[in-house]
């Protein structure tokens, strides 16, 4: 009964706030009409309650029903002095529900989503979210300091019009950016007397040996998308990328033809499971686990780590070794990889115009970029979830070896945000401890050895006209390319017809799409 009353009161308070808490709702500073600027000490003396729209991290949705119940949320409310009411969309319906909130003009105060996809400048000019430039200057000293120190990040999180629109997630280390890659059966390599392959030639030798093993159907079990990482060996990449300041499209390059030739050769020799276009995730994982395949692609945590842990318990010789993205000649670095960009736009926080006190919201979000907030977001609460040992924040037994048997990712998600995307700067010391097997640590090293960082297209923004022209061209091209390259790989279309394929791409106006991207990239550079 008590609980019901409280939640009723809370929802009334929330509605009052959404309805417009601009009428001087007992925020001290607002009595004078201005908020203190510059650096302040937390917690703030305010009783503003903010509504906060965020996706519920799926790995804790069985433990808590609202993010506000987590230790992390409670601690950050305590430390900032701001009360937060979390609102979660139903899983899988995030986009639709947010569209509905925008269309019905019923947005919560802070919304975490991929704003980059939602035309940031347009969202500002149509009064959906606040332009944050002035607010950051006045009320977000920590975030501002971070941006001043990291010019490249600052460029990525602003629009071409130099507008700031979100508090972003920043992955502040190569190790955090390269968390997936190829891995092979190490015990098989050892038996064959081979070392982990680096060049395509090495791969040929390894695959031949693997293919000859009894019980192996096809050595490589991967999904279609992972095969594309072999393009990096041929000095090209999948989709759009940058080469010396010039935007290129992978499938138009000569290297791409060689890549298709190699793949279709491997499919022909039975090295690659020819069902790769319809291979589902579980089938793929089963193949590498039961030994009918010896090569796969995946994340260091969910796949490499899990496979080693589950399999080595029953079969101690089972071993997987992560390998660098393949290259043609020894010493080269692959030009394509699964490396992510440092600014991850997936779950960045914007302050909506429905928020009557954006100053407070900005203050709250800025806390994550302060020294204390940084530690809280990455490692949780000192003395509970981590301890400082020789200046290294070490997770406690509660996290690494949970007495209730919770997985590390799960319990850590209740204490910190480092396991999920959100507005803060991520620390590599989190993943160094999360990937605790030696093979996983090795993976972070070898997967980082690639050159995609200098070839990836950064977070460019297209104008509305560009964007509709671009998507008009690319929807058809994507269909055509997906269909054609699958047929090349499976040798249903001989690679000799590649030139016709390239010609068709030109006819389909790929050059216009490239020039749109080039223009946007040039604008990015001058931000």
């Amino acid at each position: 009964m008590m609980k019901k009353t409280i939640s009723l009161l809370m929802s009334v308070a929330m509605m009052a706030c959404v309805a417009g808490c601009g009428n001087g709702q007992s925020v001290r500073s607002s009595d004078t009409g201005s908020y203190p600027k510059g650096t302040i000490t937390y917690p703030m003396d305010t009783d503003v309650k903010l509504t906060y729209y965020v996706k519920m991290p799926s790995n804790i949705s069985t433990i808590v029903s609202n993010y506000g119940e987590t230790k992390f949320a409670q601690e950050s409310m305590k430390r900032t002095g701001v009360q937060i009411e979390y609102i979660h969309p139903a899983q899988g319906n995030e986009t639709e529900q947010l569209n509905l909130l925008i269309a019905s003009q019923n947005l919560p105060d802070i919304v975490e989503t991929n704003w980059l996809k939602r035309d940031p400048d347009g969202s500002i000019s149509k009064n959906v979210i606040y332009k944050l430039n002035d607010y950051i200057d006045d009320y977000a000293p920590n975030f501002k300091a971070y941006l001043n120190e990291h010019e490249d990040i600052a460029k990525s999180v602003m629009t071409d019009a130099k507008n700031y629109y979100v508090f972003p997630m920043v992955r502040a280390s190569e190790k955090l950016l390269n968390t997936s890659g190829f891995f092979l059966r190490a015990d098989w390599l050892q038996e064959a007397g081979l070392s982990a392959p680096e060049t395509i030639e090495d791969w040929d030798a390894v695959l031949e040996k693997f293919k000859a093993r009894p019980g192996v159907e096809y050595p490589i079990a991967v999904q279609m998308d992972s095969l594309k990482y072999f393009t990096g060996a041929y000095h090209t990449a999948e989709g759009f990328y940058v080469d010396n300041g010039k935007v290129k499209y992978g499938a138009l390059e000569d290297g791409y033809k060689q890549f298709l030739q190699k793949i279709s050769e491997w499919v022909g020799k039975g090295y690659i499971d020819e069902n790769f276009p319809i291979m589902d995730f579980n089938t793929m994982n089963a193949k590498i686990l039961n030994g009918s395949a010896g090569v796969s692609f995946g994340a260091g945590g969910g796949q490499l780590g899990t496979f080693l842990k589950t399999k080595q318990a029953s079969e101690p010789t089972y071993d997987l070794v992560p390998v660098p993205f393949p290259v043609l000649k020894k010493g080269e670095k692959s030009t394509y990889s699964s490396r992510q960009l440092p600014y991850s736009p997936v779950s960045a926080a914007a302050v909506t115009t429905k928020c009557a006190q954006p100053e407070i919201a900005v203050r709250y979000l800025d806390y994550a970029y302060s020294e204390d907030g940084y530690m809280l977001n990455n490692f949780g609460i000192e003395g509970e979830s981590y301890e400082m040992k020789d200046g290294y924040p070490t997770f406690t037994k509660l996290i690494t070896d949970n007495p209730d048997g919770m997985a590390m990712a799960q319990i850590l998600t209740t204490y910190a945000r480092s396991t999920v995307e959100g507005p803060f700067v991520q620390d590599e010391r989190y993943i160094e401890q999360y990937y605790h097997l030696p093979r996983q640590k090795e993976a972070l090293e070898v997967w980082s050895q690639n050159d995609y960082g200098s070839h990836a297209i950064p977070q460019i923004t297209l104008t509305k006209e560009e964007s509709s022209e671009f998507s008009g061209i690319m929807t058809e091209i994507n269909t055509y390319v997906a269909e054609s390259i699958t047929n090349f790989m499976l040798d249903k279309t001989p690679v000799s017809e590649y030139d016709t394929f390239v010609k068709t791409l030109h006819d389909m106006n790929i050059d216009k799409a490239i020039s749109i991207y080039q223009a946007a990239y040039d604008r990015f550079l001058t931000r």
């Binding site: 269309a103 269909e483 699958t486």
Partner: protein, 318 residues
């Protein structure tokens, strides 16, 4: 049956204005009018009022400015669909799948109903009916999972192919196999459920007609063609007209669950193409334009089929 709705006899001669007739009828059948209000409201609120959203087919729709606030773009959305290099292919695939499913899928439940009609053992009849209904209740996602397994390289279908001397292959990666897989699985899932309506129609065929036919020396086969089929012909025609009314309505759910780039050639239909463009890329105006085009074609087929049917068989929806 005392409260039968009264036929209004006051002005049955067609005299008086509509309003006058309506007013007097209202008096006589007040209860009936009250009862129909919720139904009318349902259609107004859930079917007609959302229809104004169709105007986004002619707009460059943007969520934050809303349906009415978005700028008009005329026929641009339609043009971009018709001028697409894939327009021809997706239209052809849609029609192929749709026509094949009418050609093969439509008669299937009728044949099943006719066959079951000849069965004399009640328990056998019930068993067959139950077994054929069951797949209808399985979720589409599960059905597609089953189809994928059955047609996989080591799936049950390939055992049969191998037995007859063929070579094993993943059938869902063979463009020529997609339409048969789609149609056969559709029939398998829907044949029992679809036969219910025909079965009901069969029970209404006058049994004296069968006796008459027997007296005239007609055998079992003869009876089917001279008595049974003409007896359920109105039902068949109505069902066919309704089916033609959704000729472009090949559902995207099943195809999206089954297709992959290797078989786009035969499997990519209008709705999946629009799904990729309209929903994945959030181009709602475009998706609506294609939806409107679909509806238009469907309505033309519906009206056309109805007209032809009225002329030829004197059976029609209106």
């Amino acid at each position: 049956m005392k409260n039968k709705i009264q036929k209004n006899t006051y002005v049955s001669g067609g005299k008086g204005s509509f309003a006058a007739r309506f007013a007097s009828d209202l008096k006589v059948n007040r209860a009936a009018y009250i009862m129909i209000i919720p139904v009318l409201l349902f259609y107004i609120v859930f079917a007609y009022s959302p229809m104004y959203g169709v105007i986004i087919a002619f707009k460059d729709y943007d969520i934050s400015t809303g349906i009415l606030g978005s700028p008009w773009v005329g026929l641009a959305n339609f043009k971009s669909f018709f001028s697409s290099m894939y327009f021809g292919r997706v239209l052809k695939n849609t029609l192929t799948i749709s026509l094949c499913s009418i050609l093969f899928g439509f008669p299937a439940p009728i044949i099943l109903a006719l066959l079951l009609n000849e069965v004399k053992h009640k328990w056998f009849l019930r068993t067959v009916q139950t077994i054929t209904y069951l797949p209808h209740f399985i979720s589409l996602v599960v059905i597609c999972g089953m189809i994928k397994n059955f047609t996989a390289q080591d799936g049950i279908v390939n055992y049969i192919v191998e037995f007859f001397g063929g070579t094993r292959s993943t059938l869902l990666m063979n463009a020529n196999a997609f339409v048969p897989i789609y149609i056969i699985s559709d029939i398998w899932q829907g044949v029992g459920w679809g036969s219910i309506v025909y079965f009901a129609a069969l029970t209404n065929v006058d049994s004296e007609l069968y006796e008459a036919c027997t007296l005239d020396g007609g055998g079992r086969i003869r009876q089917v063609f001279t008595v049974t089929l003409p007896g359920i012909m109105p039902t068949i025609m109505i069902m066919l007209i309704l089916r033609l009314g959704s000729i472009l309505g090949v559902g995207y759910e099943k195809i999206i669950l089954l297709y992959n780039p290797t078989i786009f050639k035969t499997a990519d239909v209008i709705s999946t193409f629009v799904y990729r463009k309209g929903l994945v890329e959030s181009d709602f105006g475009y998706a609506t334009a294609v939806g409107l085009f679909n509806s238009l074609v469907n309505v033309i087929f519906l009206v056309g089929a109805n007209l032809i049917s009225r002329k030829l068989t004197e059976t029609s929806l209106w």
